[in-house]
């Protein structure tokens, strides 16, 4: 059994909530009392039929206004997989939420209303997914019942989306003709689409291969904290606790410390206080080194022969997430993993239109806008290009006066 994290992109009108409700309902993840609760709400609102969309509408404030204001996380599992859905709203003003949800997703489900076809929003969601490095795209052509289950219409939309994908360099796409409302091709194959021979959406979710091979990438490990019990029996113990970002670490490996540049050797790797021979990407471990070196939170341990970009003037795409605009010269705290350094936005090169990917001139950056920038840092960081190594190629900007997270940073 493994875990698949995916994000659903689309608006309420595309039937996104209904789609998620349908997945949960047909995979038997909705339990009697939860169903009773939505039956009650459906009646309260005089809708008549059970509204599956209500399963995913969380807060009363949202129900009253009929909108989704934030990313919600949903869980369901089948015999083979645990699924974590980041349910992000699709309205224009909520690009910020989609970026948040997409940052931890392996796959995106893009919803298209079969009657409308590819619209501006479809393009925007695809662009954001591609910027955030999601390589797998499931395009669900929803409300297929409302176009008489037409194969021609389906093919038309597939062709339209292929155009979008080509411009975005998205390669791994699967298409599904579905009706979330009626359940066609979501969990069970539809009788009304005999021309569609592919898997149902759930079958595809269950079998799609998404684990990137990060074990074989360059070694990346950042220190979260130093464990020093300082008890009589563990007097000299100094363990560097952290999570392996990518690659593989073993006892005896020759390593280099960033930023000091000092070289040493791994003496021992522990998990939960017990020695383990090797640690791989994703594991939270503790590394002990041969030599006593001054290492603190935010420092990195790399294999001696692994190359990384050590820079104090990185170039990055920035997605702005705050109400207060970004201006050239503004100072922030940049947090890259565990490392925090003061930063000034030295240059804003261009704005990226998230609907067209066209660059344009810019002086001020507002909420939900994406720009290409040059940063100047107080001290260097050791990063990768986001496209090469997501985990070590990202950061956030923190406003030092409000302490809010104001930007997503993707290094280039």
């Amino acid at each position: 059994m493994d875990i698949l994290r995916f994000i659903t992109a689309g608006s309420v009108d595309d039937g996104k909530s209904t789609l998620i409700g349908r997945l949960l309902y047909d995979s038997k993840s909705i339990l009697t009392d939860q169903l009773e609760a939505i039956e009650k709400s459906s009646k309260n609102r005089n809708d008549g039929e059970i509204d599956l969309a209500l399963l995913t509408d969380g807060l009363r404030a949202e129900r009253e206004q009929g909108i989704t204001i934030d990313v919600a996380y949903r869980y369901f599992s089948t015999a083979n997989r645990k699924f974590i859905i980041a349910d992000a709203p699709g309205h224009v003003q909520y690009t910020r939420n989609m970026v948040t949800g997409a940052s931890n997703s392996d796959l995106v489900i893009i919803l298209i209303d079969a009657r409308k076809g590819v619209i501006e929003q479809t393009r925007r969601h695809s662009i954001i997914a591609s910027l955030l490095g999601i390589s797998k795209v499931f395009v669900t052509i929803n409300k297929i019942d409302l176009v008489e289950y037409s194969e021609d219409r389906y093919n038309e939309i597939v062709a339209e989306y292929e155009e979008v994908a080509k411009s975005l360099d998205i390669k791994d796409i699967q298409y599904f003709p579905v009706s979330a409302l009626n359940g066609d091709n979501i969990v069970d194959s539809s009788l009304f689409t005999p021309w569609y021979l592919g898997p149902t959406l759930l079958e595809a979710l269950e079998t799609v291969d998404v684990e990137p091979d990060i074990e074989h990438e360059a070694s990346r490990f950042q220190v979260q904290l130093v464990i020093r019990p300082q008890t009589p029996e563990l007097h000299d113990y100094r363990g560097y606790a952290g999570r392996i970002g990518s690659g593989k670490y073993s006892k005896g490996d020759k390593v280099r410390i960033f930023p000091s540049g000092i070289e040493t050797e791994i003496e021992r790797i522990e998990f939960a206080g017990k020695e383990i021979p090797v640690a791989v990407a994703g594991e939270s471990v503790t590394i002990l080194l041969k030599d006593e070196i001054d290492i603190s939170r935010g420092d990195s341990i790399f294999h001696s022969n692994d190359v990384v970009n050590e820079t104090a003037e990185p170039e990055a795409l920035i997605c702005w997430l705050d109400e207060k605009p970004l201006q050239i010269g503004n100072k922030y705290l940049l947090q890259q993993g565990q490392r925090r350094v003061r930063t000034v936005v030295r240059e804003i090169n261009f704005k990226l239109d998230v609907n067209t990917l066209q660059p344009s001139e810019v002086f001020e950056v507002r909420l939900n806008e994406v720009v290409k920038t040059k940063l100047k840092l107080q001290s260097p960081i050791a990063v990768d290009a986001y496209k090469i190594n997501k985990g070590n190629g990202c950061a956030i900007l923190i406003d030092e006066t409000s302490h809010k997270t104001v930007a997503a940073v993707l290094f280039q």
């Binding site: 009697t32 009392d33 009363r60 952290g242 522990e270 956030i396």
Partner: protein
């Protein structure tokens, strides 16, 4: 042997625990003796081994706890040599002249918030680690892993910080504090699977036992000094277990003969009712009960 996906959940939670200790000066772990906080404690032990758990455990005692949960709490704390801080809702009611709730199942659940906020202030805690899971309830599904609360402990769902990748921003203003939920991405069955695979001991009330109960609107409520019995109530001996551990006044028992963790898990997998729906009296009051409580500083 822990399965691959549990190992991933475990690694993520340990990572979050370590972020808390690295980013905050005075964290605490809220420990009730329930299975979720028991799991949290296990993860904390692993995160900082061979060092000790670097924060105290805090229990907000409503005075309506199951004695078995308190016994478990005390023996576990002693066995592991941890620091435990207990603060009583009873004292808050007296000192602050609060109104004791009334009714058949008079629950002090709401009042816990007052004691919790006082305790946070008394010790200057800047981060409280809790065992809430996003699958539990719909307001929780929308809460961040690092959830910033204002000085009144209030959660504002519209003003949450975006939480990107695995980068946690724990910077706060004076007076604010953070609730951290390391097992946000776990489901009920994940917690049970983990407890089973790690062989973690649980309080006895999670397993089948005979107990005096009354039946109220289809739910079985333990007979205790904290609920008001009337003449209509029929006290019966039933074989039950608990699926969640809350207050005796607001937690219902499940009829069950499951005496091992395997049997309990089989029953939970086959049941068609959610954890909170089956066992919590307090969530049924209004559709938005949790949303309202969270906004006023509840966990």
């Amino acid at each position: 042997m822990t399965s691959d996906y549990l190992k991933k959940l475990e690694a993520e939670s340990i990572y979050i625990m370590r972020e808390v200790v690295a980013q905050f000066e005075r964290p605490a772990l809220l420990f009730s003796g329930g299975k979720d906080s028991i799991t949290l404690l296990e993860l904390a032990i692993k995160a900082f081994a061979p060092g000790k758990v670097p924060f105290p455990l805090v229990h907000i005692d409503t005075g309506h706890n199951f004695p078995e949960a308190l016994e478990y709490r005390d023996s576990r704390v002693k066995e592991l040599g941890l620091q435990l801080i207990v603060r009583h809702v009873e004292d808050t009611i007296r000192e602050k002249n609060l109104t004791e709730p009334t009714g058949k199942f008079a629950s002090r659940n709401w009042l816990q918030t007052y004691t919790l906020l006082d305790t946070i202030e008394e010790f200057g805690f800047d981060a409280c680690i809790g065992g809430a899971r996003r699958d539990e309830e719909k307001a929780r599904a929308k809460e961040r892993i690092f959830s910033i609360r204002d000085e009144f402990g209030q959660w504002d769902p519209k003003l949450q910080r975006p939480e990107l990748w695995n980068t946690f921003n724990g910077k706060i203003n004076k007076g604010e504090n953070v609730r951290v939920f390391p097992i946000s991405n776990w489901t009920e069955i994940d917690v049970w699977s983990y407890i089973k695979s790690e062989g973690i001991p649980l309080p006895s009330i999670y397993f089948s036992h005979v107990r005096q109960v009354i039946e109220h609107e289809g739910q079985l409520i333990a007979v205790s000094p904290f609920i008001k019995l009337t003449e209509e109530d029929v006290i019966q001996n039933r074989t039950v277990r608990y699926r969640t551990v809350g207050d005796m006044t607001c937690t219902a028992a499940v009829e069950s003969y499951a005496s091992t963790i395997e049997q309990v898990m089989t029953e939970i997998i086959s049941t068609r009712i959610s954890e909170r729906g089956e066992t919590r009296i307090d969530d049924r009051a209004t559709e938005a009960a949790m949303e309202d409580r969270k906004k006023t500083g509840y966990f």
